[in-house]
Amino acid sequence: MDSKKPSRRRFLKSGAAVAGLAAVQSASGQTATPEAHPAKSLQDLIAYGERSRFVSSIRVPVVERPSPDAFGLTFHVLSPLQDSAGIITPSSLHFVGTHRGSIVPDIDPKEHRLMIHGMVDRPLEFTMEELRRFPSVSRIHFIECLGNHSKPEYKTVQETHGLTSCSEWTGVPLSVLLKEVGVQKGAAWVVAEGSEEVKGAGSIRLAKAMDDVLVAYGQNGEALRPQQGFPLRLVVPGFEGIYNTKWLRRIKVVDRYYMTYNDYGHISNDPKVAALTFRWGPKSVITFPSGGQQLPSPGFYQITGLAWSGGGAVRRVEVSTDGGLTWKDAEIRGAVHPMAHTRFGMSWEWKGQECVLQSRCTDELGDVQPTRAQVAKFFNVAPDYYKTHGVQGSDNTIQPWRVASDGSVHNAIV
């Protein structure tokens, strides 16, 4: 076998798929080879297309922890939001998050089963083929990891915000399956469990499970990617990423919070923190111009970015070009879906002076994205507390970018 040709199977088994892809990318970036795709035959490219070799957008591991880590495990990998167009994250660039670091399982969908049991009238087990015979829905939702915290030392929007991504998910509403098994009186929670080596599992309130949770097998028009839970995952709209159980194999209907594997690391003894942890609030970030980018000269530009909320649809996005003194409504550019990335933009003339750009999202519940100073006040900590600490709960604070007079763009949170 050609040693340059990455073996998908080997990557999956070694759990180092992400590192492998990154290595291939940087190697081809260094040597400007005349061949479009030296590692792929024409037959391969007819079968499954690739992007241009001039497009180099890639994921990178989180700043604090390499992937693969000391155990060879893939931990959290950041999506390149600075290069994003529209609202859909390409499946290949979707962020990756795993609880302790995980080995991506290599699952044969013919062998995969979903069992639903516990406080139900009829425990049932479904094959993938059977799940596809239920009425399906397709919905666009973001998934964002609780670890998506901006910090002053982070340079790019990939580092500050890259643990969120947005896909069209296709699958069966969990409520349909729960009605099929017949939920019994007294049930209040469900425990959803994966089939990877640690069988990662977490507890979700039954009210949410019956509301809008999807048992998804499709992502952006094809099967889920292995790093995203192939062949089956939970999509829990608006909730923090860890509830979106990947490689889903079991749902148990229960009477109480179970405090199982995935729950344990996400508990807080502070009710104020806990209340800001389960689901995401209104959030937005400017992706252009953003940290690490360069404006070539004064003149006309499009400020653009993404807004989203776990509370529903984005109702309004405002942009400030003067460090938050004044705000103007941005245009919503494209469709607005509940609990989905929403693209906004604004025409802007940069006159060559230093300025600070930021965006602010308001969702359909009327919740408004806060500044870090407002969050500090809410938690009764000093305004400079977040220089050395992460924002408590899920960080949905306003992200300022400073455009220097030379056109370079920098993270301006303090």
């Binding site: 880590d69 015979r133 009605k179 599992a201 229960v254 199982t260 529903g312 969050v375």
Partner: protein
């Protein structure tokens, strides 16, 4: 007499039909897909442990048995004394930690080890049973999981060395951080706790 019974029957008939059909809607499946797993199959997969302990299998273990298992199966990653390894600290040491390397999520350092941080002893049992040892997950037998749980609880001063831990006793263990977590309500369309107006 007969006529009035008939009248009563006619009166109640629609009620009975509505009642029956409602029960039928609630109790019978709509699509008839899937198969019924056997009790055995459910038991084999039923590994999430309630704080009530109802899913715990038969078996038992003590800290002494756990000490041996720990040395064989855990020490290589977690350190011979439960700290200083590349995996999270499991036993509080008297001296401050020198471990400053990457910390696995949940990042657990001194003073925040699972035996003292977890509100329920069942969570520790569940965690070890499904997630350990690294690359041999799911191979520990129930007695071994009980013994390792007992060992960690003993080494962190939660239980005594000769306490026998089993399915009835594990959920009864009084954990130091029993009330140390908050569980927020969730309802569709509920605004966040954070003040919404800037």
């Amino acid at each position: 007499m007969e006529a009035s019974t008939m009248r009563l029957f006619k009166l109640l008939l629609p009620v009975a039909i509505v009642g029956l059909s409602h029960a039928g809607w609630a109790q019978s499946p709509t699509y008839g897909l899937g198969r019924t797993p056997s009790a055995e199959e459910i038991r084999a997969w039923d590994i999430a442990i309630s704080p009530s302990g109802k899913e715990l299998p038969p078996g038992s273990g003590t800290a002494k048995e756990g000490a041996q298992l720990y040395a064989q199966k855990c020490a290589a990653c977690h350190g011979a004394n439960g700290s200083g390894g590349k995996a999270p600290t499991l036993i509080r040491s008297k001296s401050p930690s020198t471990n400053s390397g990457p910390c696995l999520a949940p990042c657990v350092r001194e003073g925040n080890v699972m035996a003292t941080h977890s509100p329920y002893a069942t969570t520790i049992w569940d965690y070890i049973n499904r997630g350990m040892p690294f690359l041999q997950e799911g191979t520990l037998k129930p007695n071994e999981v009980y013994a390792l749980t007992a060992f960690l609880l003993y080494k962190n001063d939660v239980i005594r060395e000769d306490d026998v831990i089993d399915a009835p006793s594990l959920p009864q263990i009084k954990m130091p951080n029993r009330d140390g977590y908050a569980l927020p309500e969730w309802k569709h369309g509920m605004p966040r706790a954070f003040p919404s107006k800037p």
